[in-house]
Assembly symmetry: C2
Homo-oligomer: 331 residues x 2
């Protein structure tokens, strides 16, 4: 396996140690390997926690800090943290005003997240869970809650962090996070597969002249598998599907995320954005802010996803709030 | 070729168009495809410009903005901008206090940069050129000026941008940029090759079970080619060479950059940093700041480079100055 690792079984442990050493001014590692803020949030504000699997970068440890996540309960590679670790994370995030527990819609995350939630409630901790989902190909319109959570979750996560930092109530934090999630749609495309950092195995097959649209972040099958298209053709196909699904309508404002899957160059994302900018202008959809880069990768997979999120004055204001984390900072 | 491009001959043009659309609040594109600041620097301050080849990301357009570069004169893929474009960049960067022209030590950059410099001087523009070099394997100690400029150049570039933004004189800007360059050492390692985005060709060969230390950013031959080592073994070997070259000595403070070459995951950089942090602590070298991520990639090459830069109070103060660019921001 061509990766810089030591014992593959220690990958996550060593990663979290190295990460928190490098960003010791922002984060700290607890004895049970929760990544927490160096300076805990003030008492009386809602805490934000998530349990998840590792390998999609820089989520989640890269977003722990002021104005964003309080606690990251990381599991193993592509496998959610067990319920007891998430419970530990909920306890650590509790600053007396309750905890917003974010759950990405993947089977393991939901199973362990729900179990942790029940245990926390039984302990008397005030918890609201918010399920995030945005991948339009994984369930039809009308069944949005069955869709997988992919890169567009970043929008709702940032909004949650901002609302909690402002001191909003748990109910208000949950409400606006659900609104941002409901406003988001994502579609991804893959060109070549990632390698699992523990097993060393390539995670799916894709012929040298083919691409696949709609593939999940762990290689789940997509809806289009065919010859390589140009950047412009790819973006036309994908933007159309994303815009029509919600639908996003002329005159409204959106946040845009082109998320590189790992081995996609910024050059490609810039070329893809060039076309998207044209499409949105022609459609009359206004761009409020743009994110280009790696937010939720799948190791060194080649590909990208397109996410759009409708914004109103409330979401724009929260989006613009400052935050300071290892890999996402707003001044 | 598995990349999101349109006509390969338009890659750079389309990239710059897309980039400046996405970051239109920070940058703008001139008619001759210079990337410039949206809000030009105030009159009476030194301008910072560079001519270079494209494909090492997010350099340089990603660092155009307040507190950093004023003008980016981009060439073609891995080929420096021609002298007349760099001259145009020098003119655009001139705000009446002279222009600091940064030149990365690669043959084409030096050739075209020197020619542009001569033409600018002949026009009566006040220009100082500063050559940047940091790759320890490309020339022996004592011949540092013959070394190639690689990822560690980022330190001197940021320092230059900060000094100019403060309103320092051209001579003072050049002096402190040269000091930061002289304080920097870099060594890189490659695991697997990049693909050229225009030709579609893989740029070098490396067997499935081998790594190469000291390879240049365009695939230039290195000094060690052998079996894959673990992350810790790789870092031990590389840190030793980097520390001994300058040498970096106990008690001094350094900036650290682990630069991912394109397809290296953050997980790997975090695991590598874990070991480096131990080595530096054992050696008595103190870490002032750490950068982990992609700064000067070579498309989707797998590998990374380690850069260290000694800092004194002057450099630390300039390093901490705020800057706002597309891909590097300090609050």
């Amino acid at each position: 396996m061509k990766k810089f690792v030591n014992d593959p079984n220690n990958v996550v442990k060593e990663e979290l140690e190295g990460f928190t050493k490098a960003y010791s001014h922002i984060t700290a590692l607890t004895d049970d390997y929760l990544v927490v803020r160096k300076q805990p949030k003030e008492e009386g504000k809602v805490g934000i926690v998530i349990g998840h699997g590792v390998g999609h970068e820089p989520s989640i440890c890269g977003w722990v800090g002021k104005g964003f996540f309080d606690v990251d309960a990381a599991g193993e590679i592509f496998a959610c943290a067990p319920a007891d670790k998430i419970l530990s994370g909920i306890r650590a995030a509790d600053r007396g005003a309750g905890v917003l527990q974010i759950i990405a819609n993947h089977a393991g995350d939901v199973l362990n997240g729900n179990l942790a939630y029940e245990m926390a409630i039984a302990e008397g901790i005030k918890v609201e869970k918010v399920l995030l989902y945005d991948d339009i190909v994984t369930a039809p319109k009308g069944q949005e809650e069955n869709r997988r959570g992919v890169a567009g979750m970043f929008f709702a996560m940032k909004i949650a962090g901002a609302a909690a930092e402002r001191g909003w109530s748990l109910e208000e934090c949950a409400r606006v996070t659900r609104k941002a999630n409901a406003n988001t749609r994502t579609l991804g495309v893959a060109l070549s597969p990632p390698t699992h950092p523990v097993t060393g195995k390539v995670m799916f097959d894709l012929p040298d002249d083919e691409m696949e649209i709609g593939m999940g972040v762990h290689g789940e099958a997509g809806t289009y598998k065919g010859e390589m298209l140009s950047a412009d053709e790819t973006m036309e196909l994908m933007a159309k599907q994303v815009i029509e699904d919600k639908p996003f309508t002329p005159g409204e404002e959106v946040l845009v995320l082109l998320n590189g899957s790992g081995a996609t160059t910024l050059m490609e994302l810039h070329i893809l954005y060039r076309k998207l900018d044209q499409i949105l202008a022609e459609t009359g959809i206004k761009v409020y802010d743009v994110l280009l880069g790696e937010f939720i990768t799948t190791q060194e997979m080649k590909g990208f996803s397109l996410s759009l999120c409708s914004v109103d004055d409330e979401i724009k204001s929260l989006w613009d709030d400052p935050c300071e984390t290892a890999y996402f900072t707003k001044a």
